[in-house]
């Protein structure tokens, strides 16, 4: 891919191509930051700066989407590791408070959100592969590339995640 509006330090990336996957990428950044919008916007800008400066260089070996998801994933892991840990602690301890205020969210929406809570309760890699394959329309191979693991490892996480999710969602239905 080499467009007219290709970036100077990243000739295989164009502004147009980035714009086309912006919303998906933001969604991915949002889940990386525990749905903190400000942090996700900051993470997105960091990713774009890395692409603009050529610090993250796309060489056409994978799809642009896989590459950018990997960039966001790595940035989130390195720069927001501590923040994410703190946020996870906060959400863990704030979970009780959230449940105390069910009137703010509609009952059916609450039920839908419970599904994502089940995803969030999975181990990190299972959670990532679930999101990438089921919600971001990636293959297991692409998801493995984003996560920086081998395809075999990706498959194992995918299988385990599916089994665990089936159990958790089954339990959710029974309680309803």
């Amino acid at each position: 891919m080499k467009d007219d509006d290709a970036l100077k330090d990243n000739p295989h990336v164009s502004r147009q191509a980035l714009e086309a996957i912006h919303s998906q990428l933001f969604g991915w950044a949002l889940t990386r930051c525990g749905f903190d919008r400000a942090a996700a916007e900051d993470l997105m800008q960091e990713a774009y700066v890395a692409v603009l400066s050529g610090a993250a260089r796309f060489d056409n070996k994978s799809s642009l989407k896989t590459f950018l998801f990997g960039v966001v994933h790595n940035l989130a892991r390195s720069r927001f590791r501590q923040i994410a840990l703190r946020m996870r602690l906060v959400t863990t301890y704030a979970a009780g408070a959230e449940e105390d205020a069910p009137h703010e969210v509609k009952a059916d929406e609450m039920e839908i959100r419970q599904v994502w809570k089940a995803v969030e309760s999975l181990p990190a890699r299972q959670r990532d592969v679930t999101e990438l394959v089921f919600c971001r329309d990636m293959t297991i191979e692409e998801a493995a590339a984003v996560m920086g693991v081998t395809v075999g490892t990706g498959r194992v996480h995918y299988d385990r995640a599916k089994k665990a999710l089936a159990g958790k969602l089954g339990a959710l239905r029974e309680t309803d």
Partner: protein
């Protein structure tokens, strides 16, 4: 539950969690470009400062040589007029020991003595 049902359920759930009002690309891109330009100019300023500091350090180190040694030692008229000998400034850089290329170098090359190190 099959894969399609699970996929639909997860996509609905994620959509509900992340909301619909995603920030526009143009604003994010403009901010990224601003940050990129700012970091580049910061880097250029730092590089300029480092280069200036290096030039200043070299000039400072060379200043005593130009000021004292060269002028005072070699260009004094009295010294030149009171002696019949003169040595070029660059002669001081020559090695004191001069090799006899016929006498010494063949010995060095032909030696098998390991104490001298792995020369050959």
């Amino acid at each position: 539950m099959n894969d399609n049902e699970l996929k639909q359920q997860l996509q609905n759930s994620l959509q509900s969690m992340q909301g619909n009002d995603l920030p526009g690309f143009d604003a994010a891109w403009a901010n990224a470009e601003k940050r990129h330009l700012a970091s580049r100019s910061r880097y250029q300023r730092f590089a300029g400062f480092a280069a200036a500091a290096a030039v200043a350090a070299i000039a400072f180190m060379m200043w005593p040589l130009n000021g004292n040694n060269v002028t005072d030692i070699y260009l004094t008229e009295e010294d030149l007029m009171s002696s019949t000998q003169w040595m070029a400034p660059s002669d001081s850089l020559l090695p004191e020991h001069q090799f006899d290329i016929y006498g010494e170098l063949p010995l060095l090359i032909e030696t098998n003595d390991l104490d001298e190190g792995p020369l050959l």
